[in-house]
Amino acid sequence: MVEDGGIAKSLSGSPGDAARGRAIVVNRQTGLCLLCHSGPFPEERFQGTLAPSLAGAGVRLNESQLRLRIADGRRLHPDTIMPSYYRTDGLTRVAPGFAGKPILNADQIEDVIAFLMTLR
């Protein structure tokens, strides 16, 4: 449920794991984050410049705000280029292999949030 600019409740019902979250964020096939974002990942050579750095994300946004931002950033900015990671409606011409599936599942999103909260 979206309230006060965020989603307070864990999507999976349990807290995420920051180490797994980091692996998802840097992975260009699962998280895709570094295609657009940069961040404190010294070992990652190619980082995107389409979006703000993820450094300090856990200071700027609380857990609830991060959850909305990742699950469905379109609710904040309808025209954002950032995909809504946990939304399967309102899409057109999705490739058959991805149809009906969110980009990340609930557990993965909780892991990513747990990791972003460590970026202080």
Binding site: G5, R28, L32, L34, L35, C36, R45, F46, Q47, G48, T49, L50, R74, L76, H77, D79, T80, I81, P83, S84, G90, L91, T92, R93, V94, A95, P96, F98, A99, K101, I103
Partner: protein, 263 residues
Amino acid sequence: MMRPRRLRMIMACMAVLLAGPFASGDEIPLAARKSGSEFMSRQTQDMQNDDTSNPAMLWVLEGETLWSKPAGTANKSCSSCHRDAATSMKGVAASYPAFDETSSKVINLEQRINLCRTEQQKASPLAYESRDLLALTAYLARQSKGMPIEAKDDSRTRPFREAGEKLYSERVGQLNLSCAQCHTDNWGQKLGSALLPQAHPTAYPLYRLEWQTVGSLQRRLRNCMIGMRAEPYAYGDQEFVNLELYLMWRARGMTMEAPGVRP
């Protein structure tokens, strides 16, 4: 008094209304347009510009041979009808896709070649991305090298161009992206390791080092759609031809560089 949190939300909403990086929707001013080759390393540019090092020249040479080789049950070659390509085909590739009277549709260069094959030569059409079709398109494109792209804008082609423009700005795929978000709003930015070009079709068909071969513009468009996790159109679909026409129109007046080289 307003609580700080409330105030922050109002400011955030104002920022959205003032629309920073989102949905500019503004096309790139004509004078600010850049070919994809301008985003490449000096080394790759040199490879494209020097005929002796441009790998696509092999396809051009093969196309030259095919041009005068008889084919089909009519046993005619392209040159039987068109003679010297250096004169008869000059500027042709720079003005495709173009309107085809018979089908009342806009068709691209590959489809034009295949119409000549089936109607004139009585030969079977060549498959997309086949060596022979790439060779012939590369050879034809070469006859327009250095010439300005000439996209016709008349009442017959306009509906196709407008359909292409709609596809260009439509968000598709699991990632819900549009061509415009990457190529109009964010060109010059880095998407991972790739520099986003403006998507001008000045150099197609071209040799892509990653493909280790020559590919058509539609192959490139397929790649972008797969990246968006969208179901790509099939080769030769009208949607792709319309997109090609719109891209050529966006690039009107820019210089043809085909056959190009890309990383």
